[in-house]
Symmetry: C5
Subunit: 308 residues, 5 copies
Amino acid sequence: MSKRVKEILGWYGSENPGVRTNLARMLNHGHLAGTGRMVILPVDQGFEHGPARSFAVNPPAYDPLYHYQLAIDAGCNAYAAPLGFIEAGAAEFAGDIPLILKMNNHDVLHDEKDPLSAVTASVKDAQRLGCAAVGFTIYPGSANAQTMYQQCREMIAEARAAGLASVVWSYPRGTSLSKEGETALDVVAYAAQIAAQLGAHVIKVKPPTSHIEQPEAKKAYQKANVPAGTLAERVRHVVQSAFDGKRIVIFSGGATREDDEALFDEYRGIRDGGGFGSIIGRNSFQRQREHALAFLGNVMKIYAGEMK
Amino acid sequence: MSKRVKEILGWYGSENPGVRTNLARMLNHGHLAGTGRMVILPVDQGFEHGPARSFAVNPPAYDPLYHYQLAIDAGCNAYAAPLGFIEAGAAEFAGDIPLILKMNNHDVLHDEKDPLSAVTASVKDAQRLGCAAVGFTIYPGSANAQTMYQQCREMIAEARAAGLASVVWSYPRGTSLSKEGETALDVVAYAAQIAAQLGAHVIKVKPPTSHIEQPEAKKAYQKANVPAGTLAERVRHVVQSAFDGKRIVIFSGGATREDDEALFDEYRGIRDGGGFGSIIGRNSFQRQREHALAFLGNVMKIYAGEMK
Amino acid sequence: MSKRVKEILGWYGSENPGVRTNLARMLNHGHLAGTGRMVILPVDQGFEHGPARSFAVNPPAYDPLYHYQLAIDAGCNAYAAPLGFIEAGAAEFAGDIPLILKMNNHDVLHDEKDPLSAVTASVKDAQRLGCAAVGFTIYPGSANAQTMYQQCREMIAEARAAGLASVVWSYPRGTSLSKEGETALDVVAYAAQIAAQLGAHVIKVKPPTSHIEQPEAKKAYQKANVPAGTLAERVRHVVQSAFDGKRIVIFSGGATREDDEALFDEYRGIRDGGGFGSIIGRNSFQRQREHALAFLGNVMKIYAGEMK
Amino acid sequence: MSKRVKEILGWYGSENPGVRTNLARMLNHGHLAGTGRMVILPVDQGFEHGPARSFAVNPPAYDPLYHYQLAIDAGCNAYAAPLGFIEAGAAEFAGDIPLILKMNNHDVLHDEKDPLSAVTASVKDAQRLGCAAVGFTIYPGSANAQTMYQQCREMIAEARAAGLASVVWSYPRGTSLSKEGETALDVVAYAAQIAAQLGAHVIKVKPPTSHIEQPEAKKAYQKANVPAGTLAERVRHVVQSAFDGKRIVIFSGGATREDDEALFDEYRGIRDGGGFGSIIGRNSFQRQREHALAFLGNVMKIYAGEMK
Amino acid sequence: MSKRVKEILGWYGSENPGVRTNLARMLNHGHLAGTGRMVILPVDQGFEHGPARSFAVNPPAYDPLYHYQLAIDAGCNAYAAPLGFIEAGAAEFAGDIPLILKMNNHDVLHDEKDPLSAVTASVKDAQRLGCAAVGFTIYPGSANAQTMYQQCREMIAEARAAGLASVVWSYPRGTSLSKEGETALDVVAYAAQIAAQLGAHVIKVKPPTSHIEQPEAKKAYQKANVPAGTLAERVRHVVQSAFDGKRIVIFSGGATREDDEALFDEYRGIRDGGGFGSIIGRNSFQRQREHALAFLGNVMKIYAGEMK
């Protein structure tokens, strides 16, 4: 095992060998194996946004097997999806790539202001399907956040008992936050902290902007003069907010963009700020397979330091 | 076993032999045995609409044994009903036809805008009554959808442990949707996707219209130029939205209509679009028994390809 | 065992021998033993309306032992009451009369528009007290109906496991219904259907009026020209609505009335319409004991066909 | 055992020997042992009203051991208090006096209109602390009454399984009732009936006034001409309302009053109306210890018939 | 063991040896070992206020290991933190300092008026991480207080079964209280009483002001002429309100202040009023490590009586 992976596993000293083994499985798989960086393919948009909005632009992606193959061929560290998608290929691709079973989901046929995701899978499902980890979304800022925090903590405890690692999607949303606030630096850093305090092993947040949402926080940022001008600086602050960098923090890829260079710049910023990688859905599966493979290849080169 | 049924069972590779056996029982029963198509008789209208609205037009249908016999004589793949109706004949007709126990129900004595069905049976009931599958209704679009998704997932998991298959009625309803939106193409396709992601083995939806309800979805349909002019095209899209056709999707028969030819055309559209069959209640039991048998015979001929 | 009781038990073919034994215990007890008809004494008014409204008119009735003795001496098929009343005499009268433990209750110190009864006893209570059956009230039409349906189903399942029969009081109430609608023919028939679908073995409803509450139902009644002019016709329709007469449906006695002949006419109507009997509380215990015994004697003669 | 205690225990014939033993322990302890009357010291005001309002007037009462000693020295039948107070002395005073663990409590830092007490102890706590009984407050008339009824019933069932007796504080409160209605004769009698129906062994209510709150009840009281002019008459009606006197009904002592004679008259009224005793908190511990002992001594003499 | 610690443990006579052992572990650790006084380092502000507001002023404090080392080097009696922070160092610092696992937490991304903390850890977590105690926050005065009281009681019961001590943060908040009322003398004393009645072993409250919030309480304070002019007097009243001083009551350190002497005066007041110590977060970790060590050293000298 690489020195870097050993170092990372060292941060999880309270965890049992099962959890650490599964963290290692993800860190040691694919193109970025051993680097301590991760690129994960997540495909929950069929549930979260609907099938046509997700797959009509690239129809082969309606097929759950497509994504398994894409994640494997691209050399991703792991593939994450809801129950149905994981079930559809778990037997066929058993052992080919670490799987993250997404445990809760939300759809937009009813899109409430203070969202609460439905729990759509269990740790037992993750075990029978051979997964390495479970994934859970929390919405800090939602009036329903307490419910999700509690479900999340219980899921992590249950997953630990099964020797599985836990990945937490921490996405601020709700009536307490402005739209701009959902990606504000203070809010994203706070969301990373909450996930870490709940016991997440891997934390997924959105790349933060330089906006500061909460007046009390603004005072603290100004007083301490926290650097926030570049994405790298902001990523560094978020990573620091997750136990001074002792938790794996990865960043979501966001909506599909046409301009690959702008995306590459974003990944460079994450890399240079000490981010541990990206979890890239729509920018992967909403292009033709060949383009997606080329694109993901470049992303991994950026994280591996093989491309500036 | 026919090649087609083997192919279909192959899509459920993560399932245990019990679940696959029960899927096979339904696919291999009745007139359409082995074709991969299904016609199911469902009788939950007594609960959902009231007894007189359901049965007064054909009084023998007040008797639960009537429906067992009708489903058997018509050569249906399965018979689906709520607890009381199933209990009333399960001993007498034991082993005569695969049974689907409907696990939740809703009545219109109190008809709320964001419906939530009551859970009215359990997997243990399905086991003691000798059922092949359990059935569950979800209402995507309802403010109570999360509750139903969670109940549905738990039911599927419990049914699996008992080796039973799961059929999900996915009917969009609720204050977030217009009346027209309940059968809109994007909404029905989304409802099929959600059921599939929850782990349904068989998915029941309504035949979609060409209306598109959600503005964000409309953009995707226009951009991808999804064909939606004919029912066959719309059915194809819905089937594609359920894991690219790798889940069994059947279509509800709707309210009683006088014009049989119009109904036959609808079944032809479903067939030609790759739909797996129909689940026909009111158009079966709200006619005299002889007419019903003739009608269902024709429907099965359409699905079997024995009638244009 | 009489042929009629054997026939009735035959309708419950999916039930275990314990449940059928307890149904038989009630059908084979008292004056109406073996006739397939039942007269039950229920005393839950102390909880439902308060003690003075229930018992001040006949003060010996404050004593729980009074009702045991009354039911026994009158030759009722069973005695039904809430936990406290049953406990107060279960030891003293052990084995003297089949007992129905009322499992939920509602009081009018807080009388909400959409009622939800409190669960006030358990199947374990019924077992330790030697009961033959459990009783449960549902209020179809209440915004809380789903909760009660689910509690009811769980109670029936638990009672079955203990070999006990289940009696369901199905009383439409709630903001969705007009006052007149609570006893409307369509609503009472619907309430009987719901109880039957939930798995009730014995169903208690109110005698229906000829009013039709729901517009959609009215169309069906008119189209099918359902006879509803006499109480016997309306009772026949309600009994038909409970699985074509294959479930035991009994009718509540209602508020105290002075005119015995009018009451006797009502029982004649129930009898002639195929109703299985009556459950008569206030008209029994709100008279002096001797009058009550005479009155109940006549009621049973009517049901036994010994009195026109 | 005295004849009277044997008679009282006879009313609880459905109970197991453990429950009857613990009822006997309370009835046979202290100055009133064997008389069938009870005086109990309850100290939950620290939780219900706050410490200063409860104890500042007699500071030694801040100490939980003070109350144990007071109850013992006064010769009370039992001492009742919340978890913390009971725990604070249960080891030191083990076996010295029967204990009633108060299982739920309410505070006035948030004083809602439709109160719901928090469950603050368990039957397991009562067992490990050596208690003879558990105590539970219900608020009939509160919109939250159903919840409390259900908790109460479950507590009684669990306590029974542990051989413990159950004492129910039945205090009408809530938006459905006027302030005057909380102690109205019909309402207090109804509250006693509800507690009895829930299975309470000992019922605590407030001394009723002659006010009648509910219009429907008023008709019944007038028709039956229920005597209600004196406290003794009203107590007799309340005791009658609790299973015709076959349940132990005790009366709360109310707020501190300066006029001992007025209090003595109240206890005489309870005694003469057939009440089983008093549960006297503030009038006991809000006086100096010596005065309290003298006062309680007189109260017990009244109940023992040693003082007019 | 010191005489004082023996005396303190004597107050917990109903507790099992495990709980008393863990209370002793905290009382016998660090600079104040054996004195019966405690200074605890709590670090839950990352969750409660956000990471930047908590740590930006002293960036090494982003690292969870920093706080472990600070608490150890300062000679604190214990270190308290949420799950994530405890997990991050529990293996590395195993056995070095008694740990208090904070079991519920609240964040300000959604800051409701009647707060309810999310349960973010379990007693099983405390056991696997080697903790001496669990910590729980209740908000008396919140409309959600009942829920928290019940969770708190259950946590204490579960912790007892595991031999762990329980620390309760009792912080009045909610729509029923004015801002000033949150630290009013009557309210803080009431909050201490509630925590004690719930079974807390160690109670944490805020230092009270001389304001009296509740009109009913004001009468009692005036009538009894409770001294409240100095902090020492007010602390004495609060300690008295927690079972006449027979429960360990400690006081929170509050927001960061620049003026050390003012803080020292506060600790002197707590000490002189019979308070058992302080729990000091922000005034510890929001300064540079060396200053924090010097500051905490002085605080302990004050409590040890080594400094006036």
